[in-house]
């Protein structure tokens, strides 16, 4: 029971509290979490992983370049107003923010730019923030929603024997009726013009507990593929409904926020074969997990439950923390300081170059793809792979290589959308030399 764990943790905290020493110089990283509310099942492992990764750096490496990291959590409950309050209350000590919600991200973009803070809305938020010339303080690498839509479509094309096989087919998009859920629509519309498939839009209102009408429509229109842009309970209900209307699971593909253990386990065997896009490998078989388990969990210092290390959302939180840590490291080395400013940290993000050698050095070889960010490109390489759920073994398995998005479609959309933002907000494009 969770109560027992909390009691034990409190006992350890009380017992060790007396021995606490004054803190030396340290970096503070705010963590906007949602451990409560309807989206907490995803928010908790994400927050735990973020905490664990920085604790690992402190334990294993003595922090980032010898500077310890302190993670300060603030509860948003996935609520935009609370998220903005969290930003305001932690911005004095933090330089980089991870809003973990598209709604909060939209609110923080202008504030962070004015305050010289960095927003890393990893794989969510405003897609056109990938254009660093217009959004100097916002990053969304390693991939964005439009990349995801394109890569999911490529997989559908592969299943039809090539992209030409999509001509005349129907793809239904079941999406969360919010700014987040609507993000891929424009891209899919462009892609439908290019490849000649019909796109059917099926919005689902928050929280998505009841979707019968949506799936009756799916049953009636019998699309060739269903793509899903869901979050929280919407994912679980959709997967169960899809199984109930006997939609083939291998033609049901979710975005990366619709592809965690939380989404498939409630559906039991019915979820077998369901697919989703991802930017990292599933499971806990990498060196970094080994370190987290041996240095943190074996010593009672883990932020969450041991058996949840390696779950999809956990791995994503760990990835997010790793990017921040590496950007800090880069900024410190670039500017020869232990205490970078917001602008210097932004430089660190823009100079981030995580190649295979660096990934191997931090225990993530084979876990994810190399990432290079630049002044112009805040969106990273835009690669993704498809993973598939096995309900018997209760595991995700990567079934494709990491492939790129259709840049011919995506890049002009990013340029167009960011130009519209610049014009609406009187933002002058900066030069990137």
């Amino acid at each position: 029971m969770k109560l027992a764990r909390i009691t034990a943790a409190l006992a350890v905290a009380v017992a060790t509290g007396a021995a606490a020493l004054p803190a030396a110089a340290e970096i503070t990283v705010p963590s906007l979490v949602y451990r409560t509310g309807p989206y907490a099942p995803n928010g908790i492992p994400w927050a735990n992983a973020f905490q664990d990764y920085f604790n690992l750096l402190n334990e294993r490496d003595g922090g980032i370049n010898g500077v310890k990291v302190k993670v300060v959590e603030c509860e948003t409950a996935y609520n935009t107003t609370q998220g903005v309050e969290c930003y305001e209350s932690t911005k004095a000590e933090g330089l980089v923010f991870h809003p973990r919600s598209t709604g909060i991200t939209y609110q923080l973009i202008p504030k962070a730019t004015t305050d010289h803070k960095v927003i890393h809305s990893m794989m969510y938020g405003r897609t056109s923030a990938a254009n660093g010339k217009v959004f100097p303080n916002v990053f969304n690498f390693p991939a964005n929603y439009w990349d995801a839509a394109s890569i999911m479509l490529k997989h559908a094309g592969d299943m039809e024997g090539g992209m030409d096989g999509l001509k005349g087919k129907t793809i239904a998009l079941v999406y969360h009726n919010s700014a987040y859920g609507k993000e891929p629509i424009r891209t899919l519309e462009k892609l439908s013009e290019k490849h000649g498939f019909a796109l059917e839009l099926l919005p689902v209102d928050h929280p998505g507990q009841e979707q019968k009408a949506t799936w009756l429509k799916v049953r009636q229109m019998r699309p060739d593929f269903v793509f899903m842009w869901g979050w929280g309970v919407m994912n679980q209900v959709a997967i169960q409904e899809a199984a109930s209307v006997r939609f083939p699971m291998d033609r049901f593909i979710g975005t990366w926020w619709s592809g965690s253990e939380n989404d498939v386990l409630p559906a039991g065997a019915a979820a077998n074969g369901y697919k989703s896009i991802t930017v990292h490998a599933p499971g806990a078989s990498f060196k970094v997990h080994e370190d987290i388990l041996s240095l943190l969990y074996d010593n009672g210092k883990g932020a969450g439950e041991r058996d949840r290390v390696g779950e999809v959302v956990y791995n994503r939180g760990m990835l997010e923390a790793m990017y921040t840590a590496e950007a800090y490291r880069t900024a410190m080395e670039m500017h020869k300081t232990d205490n970078p400013t917001g602008d210097q940290l932004r430089d660190g993000f823009e100079a981030l170059n995580l190649d295979q050698a660096r990934l191997a050095a931090i225990g993530m070889e084979g876990f994810t793809v190399p990432v290079q960010v630049s002044c112009e490109n805040h969106g990273g390489p835009g690669l993704g792979a498809i993973q598939q759920w096995n309900a018997d073994s209760k595991t995700w398995t990567l079934i494709t290589d990491f492939v790129g998005a259709d840049r011919e479609i995506i890049d002009p959309l990013i340029a167009e959308d960011s130009a519209a933002y610049a014009s609406e907000n009187n933002v002058e494009e900066r030069a990137c030399n």
Partner: protein, 347 residues
């Protein structure tokens, strides 16, 4: 009835609503007559799904009715009670490996203890207060129960398998090409049994008669020796039992998770239509909302496109708010709901 019809003014909101309803029904009948078998089969499927979804809403609405009827309290925490019960039931089953036959009665014990604690620490201090104060207290109660549930069982999604059949019915698929969800059929059976049991309990048992007496007149009930505190514990326990039923059904459908508390929002239009004091009203209201929202979600867009050339995509994801439109239309005719008691206050 004739007088009521004569009083109807087609220029007033209730008249307009009635005309629209008549137009809609006329069009629906005409559509059924001219459509092909596939379309009518699809429409039948929508109506069945709507009815079954409506029963699921009714399960939540019943808890509201029980407490409101006997104490005049609008229990904002009813949705959270369903979550709370679902958390305990799934927790007992997954964390302690208990069978549903033990876990569910054990959860019922938890709900009774909860009812006693609520009466002991909240309600007894608020006797005689304005209804709005009691309502505010139940808002606080909702947050406390949600917090305790989180503290004890965590926020993860929990699978709740109590052995009820789930998934599409093969028989209905094969014989009639109809998609009927077995879990929702089970819920309909459970709801029917629950309503029959509640009606029998309130009509034919001593405690039931005492509940009705308190519901009719607190002061009169007190004067004949009925203990208000005991009655409140009993009522909240029964509402806890209803919440447990709703929690188990919704939990079996979508997993037990904190968004479950939001199903209370689905129960509100049900109550507005059925009335806050009627057990059959909660069922009928649920059925009306269930069918109404499904029909609107699927047919309003194409209908608006046919009639006015509107973009049908602008009329999607309307289920949630359309339920309230239906409820508001009913309120125009019967502010107390279809089955609620008319409130007459003498001045």
């Amino acid at each position: 009835m004739t007088n009521a019809l004569q009083r109807l003014n087609p220029l007033r909101p209730e008249g307009i609503a009635l005309l629209l309803l008549a137009a809609f029904l006329g069009r629906a009948i005409w559509w059924f007559a001219v459509s092909d078998a596939r379309d009518t089969s699809f429409a039948t499927e929508i109506i069945i799904s709507g009815l079954l979804a409506g029963v699921m809403y009714s399960l939540v609405a019943l808890g509201f009715v029980l407490i409101f009827k006997s104490s005049g309290i609008f229990n904002y925490s009813q949705g959270v009670m369903a979550l709370f019960a679902g958390l305990f039931a799934s927790g007992f089953m997954t964390d302690f490996g208990l069978s549903p036959f033990i876990a569910i009665p054990l959860t019922m014990v938890v709900m009774v203890i909860t009812a006693i604690l609520i009466e002991r620490f909240v309600l007894q201090y608020l006797v005689g207060q304005e209804p709005i104060i009691l309502f505010m207290a139940t808002i606080g109660l909702a947050y406390v129960m949600e917090g305790i549930g989180d503290l004890v069982w965590g926020s993860d999604v929990k699978r709740l398998d109590v052995g009820l059949p789930s998934g599409a019915s093969d028989f209905m698929f094969d014989c009639c090409n109809l998609y009927v969800e077995k879990l929702e059929v089970s819920a309909a059976v459970v709801a029917a049994v629950l309503v029959a049991a509640l009606m029998a309990f309130t009509q034919y048992t001593r405690i039931g008669r005492a509940l009705r007496a308190v519901a009719d007149d607190h002061q009169a009930a007190l004067s004949v020796g009925i203990s208000l505190r005991t009655i409140w514990v009993i009522v909240w326990s029964i509402a806890g039992f209803v919440a447990l039923t709703a929690g188990v059904m919704w939990g079996a459908k979508s997993g037990v998770q904190f968004s479950l508390s939001l199903i209370a929002l689905k129960a509100l239009p049900v109550l507005m239509i059925g009335g806050f004091t009627s057990i059959p009203g909660a069922i009928i209201g649920g059925l009306i909302i269930g069918v109404g929202e499904k029909v609107a979600e699927i047919y309003l867009g194409p209908t608006m496109a046919d009639l006015f050339g509107a973009n049908p995509n602008n009329f999607t994801a309307i289920e949630n708010w359309f339920a309230y439109v239906l409820a508001l239309v009913v309120l125009l005719f019967r502010p107390q709901g279809l089955f609620g008691e008319k409130i007459i206050e003498r001045v």
